[in-house]
């Protein structure tokens, strides 16, 4: 058998994965098309941005957008700070303790939300143990229950990401900095931070994108109002009218665009470092 040139073989190796990426692109194309009101009943000639106009005019959409962004930013920032603290505390410990600390990572978000309800709901375990809860976290309109579940899930995940970057090479540089007389805070800022920053940035982008799009957690432990963007999109599509369908897809397109922006911001942050 004659061997193909190396360049061609490399491209062929990417074809199967490329097909899956094409399936995703086809899905995104259909979502955009449907958001423009195009369907089998209404052709491209009737495409319009009416649904986006309706979104902008709908106060419920703006509420959902702010609520989603708030939950995402607050949970991601808390998880990232906690992750660095956890990593600092555990990096000199053995791998077994690290594995235990990482237990929430493979736990499905939905199970974490069910646990949240069991512990924090009215008549829940915390309520019984403390003899009354100081604040209501389940179905809380400020979304603290949702935020708590995300932090429980994502802080250990980001800790793993940070630990992977905070290896022996960084520890050696830290020691060098210590012998030069740098205090712990300046070592963290000048030696550790540049080493863990790219990993933390990438991991945080993944976490934030998940929080923007997921809805099993808000569904189980979040308030009925305000809704998250995905709950809003689900509700809008329930009516089974063509306009409702376009509105639902428009909300989904906005949501997808937000995650792409998050990814792009992370990529920009990484690039600025390289330059």
């Amino acid at each position: 058998m004659r061997r193909l040139p190396a360049g061609v073989r490399t491209w062929l190796a990417l074809v199967p994965a490329g097909v899956v990426v094409l399936i995703w692109l086809a899905a995104m194309f259909t979502a955009v098309r449907s958001s423009l009101g195009v369907s089998r009943l209404r052709g491209w000639s009737q495409a319009s941005t009416d649904a986006y106009g309706a979104l902008l005019d709908d106060p419920l959409f703006w509420e959902a957008l702010w609520f989603t962004l708030r939950i995402t930013v607050v949970s991601t920032v808390i998880a990232a700070v906690l992750a660095v603290a956890l990593a600092a505390a555990l990096r000199r410990r053995g791998p077994v303790l690290r594995a235990l600390a990482a237990v929430p990572v493979p736990v499905p978000h939905l199970v974490a939300a069910v646990l949240g309800v069991l512990w924090l709901g009215p008549g829940g375990l915390a309520d019984r143990l403390l003899g009354g809860m100081p604040l209501d976290l389940v179905r809380d309109p400020a979304g603290w229950g949702v935020i708590l579940v995300y932090v429980y899930k994502e802080a250990p995940f980001l800790m793993l990401v940070v630990l992977a970057a905070w290896g022996p090479a960084v520890a050696a540089r830290e020691e060098a900095a210590a012998t030069l007389g740098l205090g712990p805070l300046r070592r963290l800022g000048l030696v550790v931070w540049p080493a863990i920053r790219p990993a933390l940035l990438t991991g945080s982008a993944v976490v934030a994108a998940f929080a923007i799009g997921a809805f099993e957690v808000p569904l189980v432990i979040g308030p009925t109002a305000p809704e998250t963007l995905s709950e809003y999109a689900l509700q809008a599509g329930r009516g089974a009218t063509l306009d409702g369908r376009a509105l639902s897809y428009a909300a989904l397109v906005v949501m997808s665009a937000l995650t792409v922006v998050v990814g792009a911001l992370a990529a920009l942050g990484l690039r600025r470092r390289d330059a």
């Binding site: 994965a17 899905a27 939905l110 375990l125």
Partner: protein, 253 residues
């Protein structure tokens, strides 16, 4: 240290107690009566939980197997640094993982209807490939590289054919990475909520069947949550075993 261990064990314990508490009136911290009412009700015919578990298992297993096969050549090319522009490939693979699966699923549902795959397990498997594949490629790529390449070449020098090289050399060399990639792929598919909701139509999947019980019957919700948690427990067991082996008997903690 104790706090970390507690935080790891308490969730499972909570679910276990809640699942077996036939009677647990407030404000008691310990249930009044233990029993298997929750298990019986969870698997009663009307709930469809057994079917949902079977569906979730089938879809996750098939999506993972397909993803590993699809990811393999790409992961090799990336791991062996044969790509001139790896950044382009990472963006192409990263975006499907970043964009909400619910949005992907909503777009795919229209295609599924057109292609006759709506409300079918095949449609769900194809849809699950989209979020599963990026993670499998990412992990698998870390296992390939110059080392695997050179022992394969050693195998070739000693006269092993392509199949014997794959089974006798490549697979054993990459087995730990492959196991982690497959486990991760399985977990990503197993945990999908919005994607299955959008594409599956009326097909019962475990997370979809679980949610209504959280409000209506917390005991049944706890039983199903334990089933939903099982693959994660397996993942933790694997991680602990690997951690123990790496550290040796001394200094594990």
């Amino acid at each position: 240290m104790l706090a970390v261990a507690l935080a790891a064990v308490v969730p499972v314990l909570t679910l276990l107690v809640r699942a077996l508490a036939d009677e647990w009136r407030s404000p008691a911290v310990v249930p009044q009566r233990f029993g298997t009412r929750g298990v019986r009700d969870a698997f009663a015919d009307a709930g469809g939980a057994a079917e949902a578990i079977a569906n979730s298992l089938t879809v996750a297993a098939l999506a993972t197997a397909l993803a590993v096969a699809i990811a393999w050549p790409a992961a090799r090319a990336i791991g062996e640094r044969r790509l001139r522009r790896p950044g382009v490939v990472w963006v192409a693979l990263g975006l499907p993982a970043l964009v909400p699966p619910f949005a992907t699923g909503a777009g795919l549902s229209e295609w599924a209807i057109r292609l006759g795959l709506a409300d079918s397990l095949a449609g769900l498997v194809i849809a699950h490939l989209v979020p599963v594949l990026p993670y499998v490629v990412l992990i698998l790529a870390s296992g390939f590289g110059a080392e695997v390449r050179s022992i394969e070449e050693a195998g070739a020098v000693h006269g092993a054919g392509p199949l014997r090289r794959l089974v006798g050399v490549t697979l054993p060399a990459i087995a730990p990475t492959l196991a982690v990639a497959a486990l991760m792929g399985f977990l990503v598919s197993w945990s999908q909520y919005g994607l299955s909701l959008a594409v599956g139509g009326g097909i019962p999947m475990l997370p979809l069947v679980l949610v209504p019980f959280v409000g209506s019957d917390p005991q049944v919700a706890a039983v199903l949550s334990l089933v939903f948690l099982a693959p994660a427990i397996l993942a933790v067991a694997v991680a602990l075993a690997l951690a123990g082996r790496r550290a040796g008997p001394a200094a594990v903690v």
